[in-house]
Symmetry: C2
Subunit: 380 residues, 2 copies
C-alpha cells in the first residue's frame, strides 16, 4: 500500500519526523536536568509511546481512562492521569491498578480529596494524587499560595488509602505567547508556581516527591527548571500549523497530515473541493489568531510539499473541504481524483478523528510507502 492507493481521507504519520521531534524534546528536557514524561493525549498510540520513551524513565501522562487502560494493557507501569479526577471514576482507576500499573491522579478540590480517601478505604485501594496548581492560566488548579494546597495536602497525606504524590501544573496559556522571550518568561512562571506550592507543602511537614510541569513551548524553551522533577509535553511529537507559528517547530517538522482526494473543481469560483472536511480535519481554528491563518489546514502535494503560493482549506462541511488560494487554484496540477496532503491546525483534534495512523518514512528510499498501521485509543 502507498499514499497513491490508500482510501481517503486517511491519517498519515511520518515516523522520520516523529523521531526527530522526539530527540529534540528529549535533548531540551535533559538540558534542564528533569525527567521527560511524554503526554500521550495527542498520539494515543503505544507505538508512538515506545518511540517517545526511548532513553526515558518510562512514565507517561494521559487524559482519559480509556488511554490508561490501553497503555496499562501494553505494559506501561507509571501513568499520570492529568485531568481532574471525579470520585465516580475511582473504581475504574482501582481496576487498572490491579493489573500492575500505578496511576497518579490529580485534584484541585478539598471535597474530592476527601472522597478519594473514602473511596480508597471502601475499595481497599491506594490512590496516588498530585495537587493541581493554577500557574495563572485560570483553567483548573488551586492557587499556589492558597490554603487549599495545605488542606488537600494534609487530607491526602493523613489518609491511609491515599498518597500525597506532589504538585503538578500546566501552562496551557503558553500557547498565547509570541516570541522566545515570552515563552521563557511563561516557563519561569510555571516553574515558580509549582515550586512555590511544593515548598509550602514541605514547610508544613508534608512530602512532595513530584513537581510536574509542562507544555510543549515551555518544556522546549525553559531556561531553568530548578526544583521541578519532570516535564509533560505532548504535541511536540507531531507538531502542527499552530505550533509552527508559535515557534515550537517548523512546518517541515510536522509529522502528521491528512491524505485527501480532489473531488470537484469549481473554476467559476476559483475553488476546489477535497474529501477531507469537518470530520476529517476537525473544526479546530487554532491559527485564527496567529500571523498566517490557514483556515482548517494547509494543502501540500502528495509528498508533503506546500503549494506555492499557499493553498488552504478555507471552509469545511461534514465531508467536503473547500480549497482556495489567495492567488488562484492550480487546477491543472490538481485534477479531480488526484491526491493531496493537508497539514492540520491542531493535531490533537485532527488525529482524534481517526482510529489509526498510516505510517510512512520520509527518510527511507520510498517516502510514499505505507510501512505500518498503528492504532489509536480514542474515546473515554
Amino acid at each position: 500500500m502507498t499514499l497513491s492507493d490508500l482510501p481517503t481521507p486517511a491519517l498519515i504519520l511520518d515516523v522520520a519526523k516523529l523521531r526527530r521531534n522526539v530527540r529534540r524534546m528529549a535533548d531540551a528536557v535533559r538540558r534542564n536536568g528533569v525527567a521527560l514524561r511524554p503526554h500521550m493525549k495527542t498520539a494515543k498510540s503505544i507505538d508512538v509511546a515506545r518511540i517517545a520513551l526511548a532513553g526515558q524513565a518510562g512514565g507517561i501522562a494521559m487524559s482519559t481512562l480509556r488511554e490508561a487502560e490501553y497503555f496499562a494493557g501494553h505494559g506501561i507501569r507509571d501513568i499520570q492521569y492529568a485531568v481532574s479526577i471525579v470520585p465516580d471514576k475511582l473504581a475504574r482507576v482501582a481496576q487498572i491498578q490491579k493489573t500492575g500499573a500505578r496511576i497518579t491522579l490529580i485534584t484541585d478540590n478539598v471535597g474530592v480529596a476527601r472522597a478519594i480517601a473514602a473511596k480508597g478505604a471502601e475499595l481497599g485501594a491506594t490512590f496516588h494524587v498530585l495537587i493541581e496548581v493554577d500557574c495563572s492560566e485560570g483553567r483548573s488548579g488551586v492557587l499556589p499560595g492558597s490554603e487549599d494546597v495545605l488542606t488537600i495536602g494534609r487530607i491526602l497525606h493523613d489518609s491511609p488509602n491515599t498518597e500525597l504524590a506532589g504538585i503538578m501544573t500546566h501552562a496551557g496559556h503558553s500557547y498565547r505567547c509570541r516570541g522566545l522571550a515570552e515563552v521563557e518568561a511563561m516557563a519561569e512562571t510555571e516553574r515558580a508556581a509549582a515550586v512555590a506550592a511544593a515548598n509550602r507543602l514541605r514547610a508544613a511537614g508534608l512530602p512532595c516527591g513530584t513537581v510536574s510541569v509542562g507544555s510543549t513551548p515551555t518544556a522546549l524553551y525553559a531556561r531553568s527548571l530548578t526544583g521541578v522533577t519532570e516535564a509533560r509535553p505532548g504535541v511536540y511529537m507531531f507538531g502542527d500549523m499552530f505550533q509552527a507559528q508559535i515557534d515550537s517547530c517548523s512546518v517541515g517538522d510536522l509529522a502528521v497530515s491528512v491524505l485527501a482526494a480532489v473531488t470537484s473543481h469549481r473554476r467559476e469560483f476559483d475553488r476546489l473541493l477535497v474529501d477531507a472536511g469537518a470530520l476529517a480535519l476537525s473544526k479546530d481554528r487554532s491559527t485564527e489568531f496567529v500571523a498566517n491563518d490557514i483556515g482548517f489546514g494547509l494543502v501540500t502535494d502528495i509528498d508533503g510539499k506546500p503549494f506555492q503560493p499557499q493553498l488552504a482549506v478555507a471552509r469545511v462541511y461534514q465531508e467536503h473541504g473547500q480549497v482556495q488560494g489567495g492567488t488562484g487554484v492550480p487546477f491543472d496540477a490538481m485534477p479531480v481524483g488526484s491526491r493531496v496532503r493537508i497539514l492540520p491546525n491542531h493535531v490533537c483534534m485532527t488525529a482524534a478523528m481517526y482510529d489509526r495512523y498510516h505510517v510512512v518514512d520520509s527518510e527511507s528510499g520510498d517516502a510514499r510507502k505505507v510501512i505500518a498501521e498503528w492504532t489509536r485509543a480514542n474515546g473515554w
Copy 2:
C-alpha cells in the same frame, strides 16, 4: 445502568424525542407528496435508521463508504452516497454492490463520469449515478443551466456500465436563512434548480428517474416540491442548538446530549469545569452567528432541563469544558462530581466523537434509565 452511573463523558440519545422528530419530518415530506430518504450521516446507526425508515420506502442517503458498508451489512438495499465520488473509490463501491445493495453515486465532473464508465467496464460492474447540481450554494455541483449537465448525462446514459439515475442537489445554504419566508424561498430555489436540470436532461432525450433535494429546513418548510421525487434531510432526527435557532425545532426537541461531570470549581473566576471538552463536544461553533451564542454547548441538569439563567460551555480544552453564566454559576447546585447534560451546537459533529449512543426514553417511567446501547459507524 442510569445517567447517574454511566462513565462520563457519554453520548445520550432520547428515543422518545427521536421518534417525535421523525414523525414530524415524515408528515412534512408526505404533505409534499415525495419520498423521504433519511440522510444517515448524522446518526450513523442502524437502530436510528430503522426508526427513521418506519413507513418509508426504505432508501437512505449517507456520506462515507464506511457507512455504506455498515448499512448494507444491516440489510439496507437502497443507498445514496451523497458526496462526490472519485474513481479510486469505485472498486469498494462495486464490492458493496456485490452484497446486494444498490449504491447511487453522485458527480459534478465530466472527467469523473468518463472514469466511472471506464471503471465499470474494467470491474464488470454497473454504477448508478446522479448528476449533482449546485442550487446556488457554491459548494459542489454543476450549474443547472450548464452544458456539463448534458455532457455528463450523455456519458452516463451511453455507457454500458453506468446508469444515469437522475439529478440531486442540496441547499446547504438554507442554514443561513432566518425566518420562515427565507426558508420557503430557499426551498423553492432548491426545487427549481433540480427540476430545471431534470427537464434539460429529458428535453435532450435522456432519462431522469430521480430528482433528489433536501436539507432539514427546506424539507420541513417547502411549500411545493412539484417535480421532485425525494427529500434527503438528516439532522432533523436529533436537532441541535443551531437548528433550534433557525426554527427547525425547539430546544425541547433535541434528542442528543452529552452527559458530563463537574470536575472543578473556580469561584474566584465564577467558572466551573466539566469533563466534556473539545473532544467530547467538538469544536463546532455553529451558534456563533445566530441570536443566542451558546459557545460549545448549553448546560442542562441531569434530566435535560436548562439552567436559569442560561449556562454555556464558553471555552473548551481537549478534555475540559469551562462553564460560565452571564449572571453567576450556581455552584451549590452543581457540586464537583455532580452530573449535567450539554446540548450541542451541531449534533453531526458532536455525535461523531463517540462510538455509541446510550439510549434513554423520556416518556417512560424512568427517564434516567439507560435502556440500550446503539453503536455508530464512524470513520471512512
